[in-house]
């Protein structure tokens, strides 16, 4: 089975002086989160979408799903964990409890606030995860990356050619990802917030999937304004 986990566990930074987490801000006719969920629902290869949501906002999210997505037939809302990894672990536990795990299961993990992901990216993630076990969506770094140890002076300017910027989805063979999490200590889990990095540290190959520059994460007011402007283009 192919599962998608839309990660909306955070309530972190706020925008527009509202107490609404940014994944619930309206973009066009519905909240950002629902645009993102629909991207996965519109891919016929994805069997089920799990929304990992902050427990305080679970009923709010369920109401939105009911209001905008009808019976929510292919959707399960799962309480998120205390961080990104915790939310993924909760989603895996929900899948295991509901459906059991098989060797072929794939999990696509995606930020709730990246509604501009494309069907091509989703398909490429599925293909890469099936073939390789793990993959990360990336775009080539367009700006020069500067590394500074002290935040005052440049330590290094690495050559840009081999550098990429990470996006999501990050996709995995579900059992492989679960094994990687199981092998981690509590301390490692707290430090290693990127699931692909966990796989890399465990010596697993992680394939690159070409992303899109506009598959950006809506994290600032400027990002939100850009997303709204993109939808208003004639």
């Amino acid at each position: 089975m192919i599962y998608a986990a839309v990660l909306a566990g955070g309530i972190g930074s706020r925008m527009q002086n509202t107490d609404l987490p940014k994944q619930f801000l309206e973009l066009g006719d519905k909240p950002i989160l629902l645009h993102t969920v629909e991207k996965f629902l519109m891919n016929a290869r994805v069997d089920r979408v799990y929304i990992g949501i902050n427990p305080d906002w679970q009923t709010y999210c369920e109401d939105l799903v009911r209001k905008h997505l009808g019976d929510g037939e292919r959707i399960t809302v799962v309480p998120g964990g205390k961080d990104r990894n915790g939310t993924i672990i909760n989603v895996i536990a929900a899948i295991e409890a509901e459906r059991g795990l098989t060797d072929e299961d794939i999990l696509l993990t995606h930020d709730a606030v990246r509604p501009f992901v494309t069907q091509r990216i989703i398909d490429d993630n599925i293909d890469a995860a099936l073939a390789c076990g793990a993959c990360d969506t990336v775009v080539r770094a367009s700006d020069t990356i500067v590394r500074s140890e002290d935040g005052e002076t440049i330590t290094e300017i690495p050559p840009r050619d081999p550098l990429y910027q990470g996006q999501t989805p990050q996709s995995f063979n579900l059992k492989l990802l679960k094994a990687c999490f199981d092998e981690m200590t509590e301390q490692e889990r707290a430090i290693l917030t990127d699931a692909c990095k966990i796989c890399v540290l465990k010596g697993r190959p992680v394939k690159l999937v070409k992303g899109e520059v506009l598959n950006f994460k809506i994290t600032t007011v400027g990002d939100y304004q850009l997303a709204r402007a993109m939808l208003m283009m004639k």
Binding site: H35, M42, L231, K234
Partner: protein, 338 residues
Amino acid sequence: MINYVYQLIAPRTITVKYKALDLSPDRVIVRPDYMAICHADQRYYKGERDAAVLKKKLPMALIHEATGRVVRDPTGHFSVGERVVMIPNQPGTPLEGVYPNYLRDSRFFSSGYDGFMRELVDLPADRVVSCEGVDPVQAAVSEFISVAFHAVARFERAVQTPVGRIGVWGDGGLGYLVSLVLKHRFPEAKICVIGLDEVKLSRFTHADETYNSTALPGDFAVDHAFECCGGSGCYYAGNQVIDVIRPQGVLMLMGVSEKEVPYNTRMVLEKGLTLVGCSRSDRPDFEATVAFLRAPGMAQRVARMISEVVEVHSIDDIYRAFDRDLTNPFKTVLHWDL
């Protein structure tokens, strides 16, 4: 859901428009995966339409020939994953006896309205036709074939004299398909194709005879004819038909010309000819097309008029496909992976 619509905003310039997808309960959602370039698309792409037309119609997503797979159907007509062809004509207010494709208020994709160059397409169920089992590359040109079926259906209603020998003027893709459909529909009739390019004419193995239009035999005659040239060829082909067609024959006009075309109307009157203008198609023609593609050997014959399948993973690939199409003798199909 935010849908990617790949719009031509100026000649040879395509950008993405982000538009909410219509997920109403009456809309079938299709993910296009193979589509074909039409001459009309190429004229927009190259900026060969009048400046006023370009200003009025752009920005606009091109392409009105496409197949895809259903990803959602709340109407219950299709299964998820089912292969379908999409009808680009959205009928206007019905008029008795008038085909929907001729209604003046009908909307046609890639002619004033966004075509199929999109991530996902939403359509009413009656604008979607199942073609499960048909090769997607051939299914991509279904709209083109349906135009041939529509013309042949109208021909059958117009014809009043024997159908012994039918001439098809035009050695391009339209001439190929019209002659193929005619042979399928009238197996006893002699189908003659008249063109200029000997190499292209050699592909018309289903036709009974092929001729170079500049060297027609002196006694050459046909009972009826289909003009499939378009452009400046409309003038030469149309008048040649009027010269060689037998009295009370039917001349089906199918080629599009940007300029007005003067025909020898004196001879049209003297011979009592019927001229029938034909454009586009509607659902029954698509259904006939799918049945045709499922008939033994037909898909293979259609495949011979597809010059190239171009992989499209980026906007740059779209440009490459349109440029390749300029030099391809027949149809260019895009494997759409965007």
